[in-house]
Point group: C2
C-alpha cells in the first residue's frame, strides 16, 4: 500500500518523467540525486524526499536506476491505465497535436478525432479519419474513451465539454482561452499566454536593470 | 519605487490577469478579494497579500477596481513594453498560434513569421507573409524583435534558438518537446504532455477509489 502523495510532489512528477525520458533516449541507466537536482532546479534533498514518497529506488553511492524510476513515475501518473482519448476540433491546433504529440509516451491512445466542419470531416490526419460531431455520442457509447482534448472556440468549449461529460468522458485537456470548469470531472486548462507573460515580465525586469533571473530557463510548469 | 515581488506571486499574476480579463469582458468593474479568492482557489488573505505587494488597489468594503488592477498587473508583467515577437516554424502549430493567440492582450506584436519549407515561404497566414529562414538574420538586425516563439522539431530547436540569441532575441517560448536551455536568455518551455499526465493521474486515483480531487478543475499553471 502506498501512502498518499502530496499535490506538490505530484505536480513535479511530469518534469522528472520528461528528464528521465531524455536520459533514456541518451542511453543513461543511472542518475545521482545531485545530477537530478541540478537539472530539475530543486535541492538534492528535495529529490530524495520526493522519491521516498513512492518507495525510493535510490541506493547510497549508486544513484537511481533510470528505467526503474521512469517506470514507477509513469505508473504513478497513470500511464499504465490504457487511457483512451478523443481530440475534438481538428483545425491547425488539433492537427498539430495529432501529428506531433507522442501520446503513447503517456500510455494514451487516440481513439477518434472529430470536427464540425464538412470540409474537414472525412479527411485523414496522421492515418486517422476525422469524424463528424454528429457521431460523437454513439462513438463514446461504443468506444468508451475517457479523455477529451479540446481545441475549440471560446464559445463552444463549455457546452461541448458538458455534453462529453454526459457521454462518459472523465478528463479534459482544454486549449481554448477560456477557463473550462466542470463539476465532477477533471480539467487541465493549457494557457499559452502565461509563458509569454512570464517572458515579458523577465524582459521588463532586465530593461529596468534587474536581472529577471526568476524566469531564466524556467518552464511553464 | 516598488519592492521586489517574489517569484511565487509573479507566477500567480497571469492567472489573476486572465480572470480580470474575463471580468472586463463581462462588464464587471469591481471585485472583492473573497470572490477573487474563490475563483482563483487561493485564500482571500493570500489575494490581499499578493496585491499588497504592488500597491493594493483594494478599499475596505468596496473591493478592487477591475480595470485598475488589470492594468497594474499587465504593467508588472511587462505588457506595456511594446515587445516584438517572431514566430519561427509555420506548420500547423505556428499557424494555430498566429490565428488564435491574442498577442495584443499581452502587449506583444508579431513582427514576422518564418519557415524553412519552400512550400510555406511566401504564403500568407493571418495577413502576414511567411518569410524564409534565410532572411531571419537581416530581419532581426533591422526590426529588432526581442521575443521568439519556436514551433520547431526537437532536433533543430536548440541550434536555431542559439542563433536567434546571437541576433538579439532575449526571450524564447518553446513548443518543441525538448527542454530548451540558453545561458543568458529567458526561456519558457510549454509542455502539452504535463497536463495530459495530470489527468491520467487523476483518472487512476479515481479508478483506485480515491477522488483524484487534486486535479479537479486545476490549471496547467
Amino acid at each position: 500500500m502506498k501512502k498518499r502523495i502530496s499535490d506538490s510532489v505530484i505536480r513535479r512528477l511530469p518534469r522528472y518523467f520528461r528528464y528521465l525520458t531524455e536520459l533514456t533516449r541518451c542511453g543513461e541507466t543511472r542518475i545521482s540525486s545531485a545530477m537530478l537536482s541540478e537539472k530539475m532546479n530543486v535541492t538534492a534533498s528535495q529529490v530524495r524526499q520526493d522519491f521516498n514518497c513512492f518507495g525510493g529506488f535510490g541506493q547510497q553511492g549508486y544513484g537511481y536506476s533510470v528505467p526503474a524510476l521512469k517506470q514507477e513515475i509513469a505508473s504513478i501518473l497513470g500511464a499504465d491505465m490504457g487511457n483512451r482519448a478523443i481530440i475534438v476540433g481538428m483545425g491547425h491546433l488539433g492537427t498539430a497535436l495529432m501529428k506531433n504529440m507522442n501520446f503513447a509516451k503517456y500510455g494514451v491512445s487516440v481513439a477518434g478525432v472529430f470536427d464540425i466542419s464538412p470540409q474537414v470531416v472525412g479527411t485523414t490526419v496522421n492515418g486517422m479519419q476525422v469524424r463528424s460531431m454528429d457521431e460523437i455520442e454513439a462513438f463514446c457509447s461504443q468506444e468508451k474513451p475517457n479523455l477529451a482534448i479540446l481545441t475549440l472556440s471560446r464559445d463552444s468549449t463549455q457546452t461541448v465539454a458538458a455534453q462529453l461529460q454526459q457521454y462518459g468522458i472523465r478528463g479534459f485537456l482544454n486549449f481554448a482561452s477560456v477557463e473550462l470548469s466542470l463539476d465532477g470531472a477533471y480539467v487541465e486548462n493549457v494557457h499559452f499566454g502565461d509563458g509569454l507573460m512570464m517572458l515579458c515580465y523577465a524582459l521588463k525586469q532586465e530593461q529596468q536593470g534587474g536581472d529577471g533571473s526568476d524566469a531564466k530557463n524556467s518552464g511553464t510548469k
